[in-house]
Amino acid sequence: MRHRENPFEGLPWHPQLEFISGSIIGTGLLLRILVSCLLFEDRPYTNELVNATMEQTAFKRFKSEIGHFFRVSILNIAFAAILMAFGLTVIVMEVVSMYETFTTDLYLIYSPVVLFVAICAMAIGFSWIVTSARILEGVEEIQDDLRKLEKEERWERKPNAQLHESSLEPGIGDEDLTRLIVRMLSHYRDNHATINRMIYVCMLGSVTIFLLGTLASLEFFQVTSTSLTFTIGPDILLLPSLLITTAIAFVSLISSIYFYRFSKVWDERIGEIDQAAALLNTALENDGQ
């Protein structure tokens, strides 16, 4: 059995576990690429969103926002799964190391830092999956209905409705769009706290996976009052793993920023609706006289 020198000296190192860890990270990377492709699958539409202009209709804007929200939610689930798998791998490695350390009288120098971070990563990953799935479910239903309405290709105006000009665009009528907006607002109100929590969980997950990746890749680490010294290795294969982990952490941070932006926009919309409530109240009270 090979022992490598590291800050947690005395811990045995298992090449096979290192291989498993590498495989999981590799799979994670593939998953990440897949999700990234999903995110940009309809490129022209994405460009329309990025260069959001005034002529873009309410329907297109709503559709693109729902689409992006859906994709960011999927991205989060994928990332959470990677984080959980990564955490689990490190826990297994640490448990084996711990067993061997304690059976070879090296327990005095055993440090549980990595194990603690791995447990945190797994717990965060699990709660993240549950949270993201809950949010995804509602958005997916709305998106399905949106697609269904588009398929129906309804160009006809409803007889009693006073419809907006842009309702002439294919696929959706004025009231159908309003119904979906109300549903999305209602879904947002229901999950407001969860989405806010997700912003922080996302950031925390990002930091945790970065720490975990870094700690697992360090051979030597020393902090003094004047210097910070570290060595990556000894295996050169650990470097790509470290880079991948850093990339995942970075993308996760971006997801968090996206959720923050969505949240901010929808909070503003809820605020506008609250202001409009006075107008609706007046309409209800006056018209009924």
Binding site: L49, V50, A52, T53, M54, Q56, A58, F59, R61, F62, S64, E65, H68, G138, K158, N160, A161, Q162, L163, H164, D174, E175, L177, T178, R179, I181, V182, R183, L185, S186, H187, R189, D190, Y258, R261, F262, V265, R269, E272, I273, A276, A277, L279, L280, N281, A283, L284, E285, D287, G288
Partner: protein
């Protein structure tokens, strides 16, 4: 439609649904209301003249009046307005 909604959203949902005569059970099922709150909403709308009650034999049906269209139209325009302008940042 489920989830947390404002009273105005529920009124709108009821009024749009009642463009064709609807039973009380149909309304509360469609709008995901319990019978108590459903009755409160319907009573309010009937008092204000947005909904009328029709009797088809033993059955009672509720139908939106012409007045309701003005509220529906205002509601639609206000909610559409939310998406009339792009967010202040690039998504």
């Amino acid at each position: 439609m489920t989830g947390r909604r404002t009273a105005y959203e529920i009124y709108w949902e009821i009024l749009v649904f009642c463009r064709k005569p609807q039973s009380f059970t149909g309304i509360i099922n469609r709008c995901d209301l319990n019978s108590k709150t459903g009755q409160e909403y319907l009573t309010f709308l009937m008092e204000k003249g947005y909904i009328t009650e029709e009797h088809e034999g033993d059955k009672r049906r509720y139908l939106s009046t012409d007045r309701a269209e003005e509220y529906i139209s205002l509601f639609n325009s206000l909610y559409r307005k939310l998406f009339d302008s792009a967010p202040s940042f690039k998504l």
